[in-house]
């Protein structure tokens, strides 16, 4: 009877493609958690839309980014053959997020020390997605 190789078994279950799934879920969840006050970004979007403040749509960018990244992650999970497609779709998603961060962070610089969990989850999701892209590109079929 051959001994069970637990390490190999664990590696098979913990597929690197799940990294993308975790990252994109973090991005989506961060939209609904507090950022710089008790308000989430989604609350801010509704508030700004009601008060007719321009560019309120930018508060939806992490959510849009997360959904696009989730689609890309599911694509590569379903078939590793589509890794270039997955990377390009992820890039589109992260494009939204990067523009949001460049637009948002400078305005909230003085409050960064008081940032809520949503902000940290968003940054973590962003970094995880970049790592995910690299893992997909390095992976051999």
């Amino acid at each position: 009877m051959t001994p069970i190789n637990y390490k190999e078994k664990a590696l098979n279950i913990l597929d690197f493609r799940l990294v993308g799934l975790v990252g994109s879920i973090l991005l989506i969840v961060s939209e609904f958690l507090p950022w710089f006050s008790e308000f989430s970004l989604f609350d801010a979007y509704i508030l700004y839309t009601i008060t007719a403040v321009e560019e309120s749509f930018i508060f939806l960018f992490p959510l849009i980014s997360g959904i696009i990244c989730l689609i890309a992650s599911l694509l590569v999970i379903s078939n590793l053959e589509y890794k270039i497609n997955s990377v390009i779709i992820t890039l589109i998603g992260l494009g939204f997020l990067s523009l949001f961060l460049v637009d948002f962070i400078p305005g909230e610089l003085f409050y960064l020390s008081k940032a809520g969990i949503g902000f940290y989850l968003c940054i973590a999701g962003f970094m995880i997605m970049i790592i995910n892209i690299m893992l997909i590109l390095i992976a051999k079929e």
């Binding site: 270039i84 390009i88 523009l99 460049v102």
Partner: protein, 245 residues
Amino acid sequence: MSTGTIYHHLDSLSQLIEQGKNKKYYLSDLGMHAYTSLKENIEIIESSKFSKGEFNSPLLKFLFALTPIKFISFEEKDKRYNTIISAVILIMGTILCGLNGFYSFLLFFIKTPEDIYRLPLISHVVFSIIFIVNFLIYFLLVEIFCRLFYRKKGNTFDFFLSFPIILYPMVIYLLIHFILLSTGLIQITYINFIDTVLLIFFQILSLWLLTYNLKVSKGLKIERGLIIALLLHYGSFTIVLFLSI
């Protein structure tokens, strides 16, 4: 294997091999060239092995439709024509960047904090010069990354000639942005949103063109080209983020 079979294969390879005085078979000059060529271009041969499903996907088909393959993998006789196209792209980018009042940083554009309509002429000239300097820095960084990570030293001049082609999407974006800016449409929320989405789309297209150019000019696999493009893109994003703070 029978002797007859061996002689059959030796006969097939007759142009590539020759028999020495010691009766052993060696590669002929042509055989040596064939071997060297295969060895040096193994990555190009492998990189052309796109999986069928991936290649036929709507996204890649769309990106290939927007890829000016003729200008990236140009022949010697088209070099002059290609140079003119590249120069036109650079000149248009330079003028439009100056008019829009953008600081360019690789594929990112940072708006000037001052009122664009009240800027002196010299500021517009500075923005234009920054665009050209940015182009040169971008090319140098890509070249250095190719040499450092993948030891790809060859074809530098042709790569330089086709490098402005990757900026054509950004020039189109600059043109659209300038039209929206000059007509005042950019102040409408939804138009501004479309402008942002267009910037993202054209950035992705430029990254794809860079990847494709690296495949053609440097013989890098698509995956490796994407790694270089992404490292530079997110490296520049980090710098832009810190600069904006």
